[in-house]
């Protein structure tokens, strides 16, 4: 990175944070601090919801997904529009009518205090631990690629987000989201344009799509019922519906975003904006990855995209085999490039037979390239077990670093940081709100002034920010950390969604039945987790189904109509 890149990176990051802090200074009411006084219009809500969901991983890993596996990952978002319609039609009106600060406050109103605290505790446990990853994941990739110190990268980005989130609360989060998402879109569109310009002369966009399609990178929808297929229309629709309902309906980091709305209409339109825009947005990012794949058919890519890890092993005396594999990879790539040109020439000449023959040979050469890459990954992992064999996260940043002009590199790195900060800010704000409203105000100090609660909120937000920083700083000590956090999320998410589904749809079930059902379902999920060897995504379904079914059984066994709610004094 040049001085210009650093100027763009620090200028945009610090500029947005400083503007957000300045504009939202002096918030004195809890409603202002956590709900922005409910004055936000639908466009800002829509952007804030989108920015919260789009983490740095979205902009580092998703193009890598498009590069490696094509567009199929877009199917994971097929359930989201339907889930957002359900949230807008069922969840949101009740949240607003009860004028709650947190989703768990709603559980208290619908059931009782203990169910509210259970929902809030499950959220704090799961989201509090995951918060560190939001900072750690991009920091580890960027520090590796640029040779920055990991701890300094984590501390700088973490402290920046803590400062403006603590100072301005939810209003600062929403305000900065606007500029951060604007920066993200500007960066991604810029990368797309540069990529198109950098394609070889004479290669049209249709040619690029033909090449990508020929290597099966453009297969976006798979209607097969094969459960072994990773991404299908059906798994995306059903699994995506379930996960999106949990995330948008019950996760405070999202609920808090749309509770900002000036009215029910503004909140609903903000959600519908996401329901319409999310699939094309993900398609665009994946397509960018597929086009990076096409670009690297004409430009030799690294044999392993984490080049720092490759070099550290290849430069050793024992790196002979790695260097030999790299030479093989170059030879195969040159041969493949000639085959692709022959394929396109035959296509342009209207000779489908020759085009099919050249295409089949190019696909075979690609399979050979992949075999060389796999052997390289195996050697790297054997030499250093800490080296992840998944280099998809490094694909896009390698392209950016190698092929974008200075200034734009800084812009694209700023995109990654902006995405990290935007999702991190929502998480911290939600953790602070839940700790203050559901625990501190509800359990410890009931009759304090608004100013006192705002001060407490700032301390709690800062506390969670420091917890996340500490977790990120020591994250490298835990192997497969990201997967561990995903597992942790799946272990808790199902039961939390079960609590809310009972609250919304099973009116006869009361607080005591649902509370003990949730605890039993959570124990069951823990038990299955330690005894079975199934995909962790199933625990979402098992936890939710167990909570709902046990609630019905317990309520029927108790015989009483069990709708209970906190007395009015329980929720100041």
């Amino acid at each position: 990175m040049s001085l210009l890149d650093y100027l763009v990176l620090f200028g945009t990051m610090i500029g947005i944070a400083a503007y957000g802090t300045w504009q939202t200074r002096g918030v004195h009411s809890l409603s202002g601090y956590f709900k922005g006084d409910q004055t936000t219009r639908w466009a800002a809500i829509g952007i804030s919801v989108m920015a919260t969901q789009a983490s740095a991983i979205t902009f580092m890993s998703t193009p890598g997904q498009g590069y490696e596996s094509g567009l199929g990952f877009v199917q994971n978002y097929f359930g989201m529009p339907l889930a957002l319609i359900i949230v807008a039609a069922v969840f949101l009106p009740l949240y607003r009518r009860l004028d709650v600060y947190t989703a768990y406050e709603f559980l208290g109103r619908r059931f009782d205090a203990k169910t509210r605290l259970l929902g809030a505790a499950l959220f704090l446990l799961q989201r509090g631990l995951a918060a560190g990853i939001t900072i750690y994941a991009p920091a580890i990739v960027l520090s590796t690629v640029f040779g920055w110190r990991l701890d300094v990268t984590i501390l700088l980005s973490g402290l920046l987000v803590i400062i403006y989130t603590v100072t301005g609360g939810s209003r600062a989060v929403t305000l900065t989201h606007k500029y951060q998402l604007g920066l993200i879109f500007a960066g991604m569109v810029t990368a797309f344009i540069v990529l198109l310009v950098r394609l070889p002369a004479g290669l049209t966009l249709t040619d690029a799509f033909t090449v990508a399609g020929g290597f099966k990178k453009l297969e976006a929808v798979d209607f097969s019922l094969d459960v072994d297929q990773r991404y299908t229309f059906w798994s995306g629709l059903l699994g995506g519906l379930f996960l999106s309902l949990s995330y948008f309906g019950t996760d405070q980091s999202q609920v808090q975003r749309y509770l900002h709305g000036a009215s029910l209409r503004e909140s609903r339109l903000g959600l519908m904006f996401n329901a319409v825009c999310k699939i094309p947005m993900q398609f665009f990012i994946l397509l960018l990855g597929a086009l990076v794949f096409v670009f690297y058919q004409f430009e030799r890519p690294p044999v392993f995209f984490n080049e720092v890890a490759w070099k550290s092993q290849a430069e050793r005396a024992s790196g002979d085999r790695l260097r030999a594999l790299a030479a093989d990879f170059t030879a195969v790539h040159t041969q493949k490039q000639q085959l692709i040109r022959a394929w396109l020439d035959a296509q342009h000449a209207g000779n489908p037979q020759a085009a099919a023959t050249a295409r089949a040979a190019a696909v075979a050469a690609q399979a050979h390239s992949e075999a060389i890459r796999d052997e390289t990954k195996g050697l790297l992992h054997a030499a250093d077990p800490r080296t992840s064999t998944n280099d998809a996260d490094y694909v896009f940043i390698t392209f950016v670093l190698g092929h974008l002009p200075h200034g734009m590199i800084g812009l694209l790195v700023a995109v990654i940081f902006a995405a990290a900060l935007s999702s991190k800010a929502s998480e911290l704000n939600a953790l602070g709100a839940t700790t203050t409203v559901d625990f501190y105000r509800h359990v410890l100090k009931r009759d304090a002034s608004d100013a006192h609660y705002v001060a407490a909120s700032k301390w709690f937000t800062a506390f969670w920010g420091l917890v996340a920083l500490a977790f990120a700083l020591f994250a490298h000590l835990v192997e497969n950390l990201i997967q561990a956090i995903n597992i942790l999320g799946s272990v808790f998410y199902g039961v939390v969604l079960g609590l809310f589904l009972v609250a919304f749809f099973l009116r006869r079930v009361g607080g005591t039945a649902v509370f003990w059902s949730a605890l039993t379902a959570q124990t069951l999920v823990f038990g299955l987790f330690f005894t079975l060897n199934i995909s962790y995504l199933w625990y979402n379904l098992i936890g939710c189904a167990a909570c709902v079914l046990l609630s019905l059984i317990l309520q029927a066994a108790s015989g009483a109509r069990g709708n209970t709610a906190e007395p009015v004094t329980a929720t100041p």
């Binding site: 567009l71 529009p81 807008a88 297969e219 319409v276 209970t564």
Partner: protein, 74 residues
């Protein structure tokens, strides 16, 4: 604190009406009240049901376009 823990595990009657401003209905059981919030303010989409149908239609359109895109360049 002790009283709070006691109350946690004590069954309380349904008093949702108490939680609302005076004169409001039961928020859990009453249908959405028609009012200012119920107006979508969108030309051609006067009700929320139509907005949801429009969003669902967009979803179907995206899927169809993705299928066509995949087939054209397969």
């Amino acid at each position: 604190m002790f009283h709070f823990i006691q109350r946690l595990f004590r069954g309380t009657g349904l008093r949702t009406r108490e939680l609302l401003p005076h004169g409001s209905g039961d928020p859990f059981h009453s249908p959405a009240q028609p009012g200012a919030d119920e107006s979508t303010g969108l030309p051609g989409l006067p009700t929320w049901r139509r907005v949801y149908l429009f969003v669902f239609g967009c979803f179907v359109l995206w899927v169809v376009l993705l299928v066509v895109f995949s087939r054209v360049f397969a």
